[in-house]
Amino acid sequence: MSDPSTASIVSTPPAHMPTEAGSGAPVDAGLPESAQKEQKPRSLLGDAWQDLRRKPLFWISAAFIVLFVVMAAVPFVFTSGDAVNGDLARSRVEPSSSAWFGYDVQGRDVFARTIYGARASIVVALLSTILTLLIGGAMGIIAGYRGGWVDALLSRIADIFFGLPFVLGSIVILTTFNGSGTDNGEWTIMGLVILSLTVLTWPVVMRLMRSSVLATKEADYIIAARAMGASTGRIILKHLLPNCLAPLLVYGTIMVGSFIGAEATLSFLGIGLKTPVVSWGIMISEAQNYIRVSPFLLFFPAAFLVTAVLSFVMLGEAVREALDPKLR
């Protein structure tokens, strides 16, 4: 046994001293319950939550994220403006008290469009993240837990996808299925964007999961469960997954942020979402020709985009710190 490092002191439970000297008393027949009020059972996630609650960074980013999600769900609460139809007579009218963000080239209300634009961005980013985590996570568990040739095969497949440059890969996919001339509906395009984001990023999640599984697989408690006769399903669901989830959670949060940015990039390049869909990327794309004369057209969607991306990245950072016991 070694001596206390900080960690061992922190994790030492409060004393359970027998108050009466009775030799037969259970070792930890403890203090009266009232003295143990901080002893409520707390899981590791509970500990992380305690940690998160004290971080202003967490509250700020969470507040923004909630705001954006509400915006995506019920945009009409925020604005009564029309995001799709415009009046050319108002083309590029500067922001004013009646139209806070001004009007774009086609005379559409920029404020309304920015609010409505949140939906496409958030939906695409969230769905792609979930899909990526599911596919990458599942592949990672299979590769890590089975090992051997299964691992070798899956890892090589992942390497191939990993080798494709992200922008190039999505340009190829989207110009093939969503090139100029195709007439896909709003949801089809969204599906295609989600698909291309997922296909090109799952290997990252898989690698993360695989290494996490490899490290956990040899843990004593997994061996103990095997010795007890636990089935493979039980070992994966009860023992492996809960202990491998933390890095995935962190990465997933950060990934939502980067997917919002990626969606905007693809829209900007003209291969992602297209009008009449409203999204921040499309707005930025449309604004590029008027940067000098009407910079506000670029400023508002870009500000929202950056705030959303930053919020998710900061949330991920806060969660990572909370989940990492070494940083405490």
Binding site: L44, R226, A227, M228, K238
Partner: protein
């Protein structure tokens, strides 16, 4: 005559040493366990001692059927356990349980104590009806000296000794016949170690358990064991009752091992005959020919390099010893007639 619960016959476990990532090439074998035989009788404690790398932990894994033996057999009541599968294997798992060394890593940190001790019942639902499980878990907690009220706590809220008690409760849940204890007290502090050892003894008396008690601490092993097997580099070099091994050791390695154990009595400082071994344990990938201990043995002769000494009763000794020149020698200092 008491029956043998476990019989181990010529057990061999080699791990391949490979090189290369895609095209693996075997370049040798780690001979972790290399021909080990012993019996475990009902209700007894067999201590297995040896230094790191002697194969005692591999032995535990093979006994638990976590690894398939390279050769040889482990018979549980006459059945070869490595040949079992499906239902028969599940029934066997109920009978042989494991207590591990490190109480900090052997409990899943995401599960409550109730889930941890209840897990054996979920894996083997026939052992206890669903409704009675929580009550059983509380009983078990009480049995190992923990407060049953703490059923909803997580492992990190307990100290090392308490966690080891949780591990023992888990092992006990299915009322097994055999518990394999792999260094169960070596990670614990002196005062806590004694509590856990007493608990193990109490449980053995109460449930008629058989223990295979693997440890490197010779004092702990003597305290708990009825019989003791000494391992060196994958082989058993001497087997006997606790008295035979500690009072009348005949193998030079056993003698050296015993003489090196510090005795907590400063008055014995100067009149202890200490055999100092030189050098380190050779690599289990390429062990020495003949007797594996010969490279560090002061008695080694020509024959030791050529002939593997069998583990058998030899002249001048009353228990099996794997040395060509087995000879009684008193090592353990006699304490003022305790």
């Amino acid at each position: 005559m008491t029956e043998n619960i476990i019989e181990v016959r010529d057990l061999v476990k080699h791990y391949p040493v490979t090189r290369g990532v895609v095209f693996k090439k075997t370049i040798g074998h780690v001979k972790a366990v290399d021909g080990v035989s012993f019996d475990l009788k009902a209700g007894e404690t067999l201590g297995v001692v040896g230094e790191s790398g002697c194969g005692k932990s591999t032995l535990a894994r093979v006994l638990m059927n976590l690894e398939k033996p390279t050769a040889g057999q482990v018979l549980y009541k006459g059945q070869d356990i490595s040949k079992l599968s499906g239902g028969a294997l599940r029934r066997l798992r109920r009978q042989i349980q494991l207590v591990m060394q490190d109480p900090y890593t052997s409990l899943n940190p995401r599960m409550t104590v109730g889930d941890l001790i209840g897990e054996p019942f979920e894996i083997h639902p026939e052992a206890a009806p669903r409704g009675s499980r929580r009550g059983k878990v509380k009983e078990l907690l009480d049995l190992v000296g923990l407060n049953p009220e703490h059923i909803n706590r997580y492992p990190h809220q307990f100290s090392g000794g308490q966690r080891q008690r949780i591990g023992i409760a888990r092992a006990l849940a299915l009322r097994p016949e055999v518990i394999v204890c792999d260094e169960p007290v070596s990670a614990l502090d002196v005062s806590i170690q004694a509590q856990v050892m007493n608990l193990l003894e109490k449980l053995q008396a109460e449930f008629g358990l058989s223990y295979v008690f693997i440890a490197h601490d010779l004092s702990v092993v003597r305290h708990l064991s009825d019989r003791v097997a000494v391992m060196y580099l994958g082989k058993m070099v001497e087997v006997g009752t606790e008295d035979e091994i500690y009072e009348r050791p005949t193998h030079p390695y056993t003698q050296a091992l015993l003489s090196a154990v510090p005795v907590p009595d400063p008055t014995l400082r100067d009149n202890k005959a200490i055999i100092r071994l030189t050098g380190d344990v050779p690599s289990p990938v390429s062990p020495p020919s003949g007797c594996r201990f010969r490279t560090r043995c002061w008695k080694a002769q020509e024959v030791c390099a050529q002939e593997v000494p069998l583990l058998q009763i030899r002249r001048g000794s009353d228990h099996p010893s794997a040395c060509h020149f087995a000879e009684r020698r008193e090592i353990v200092p006699t304490h003022e007639a305790a």
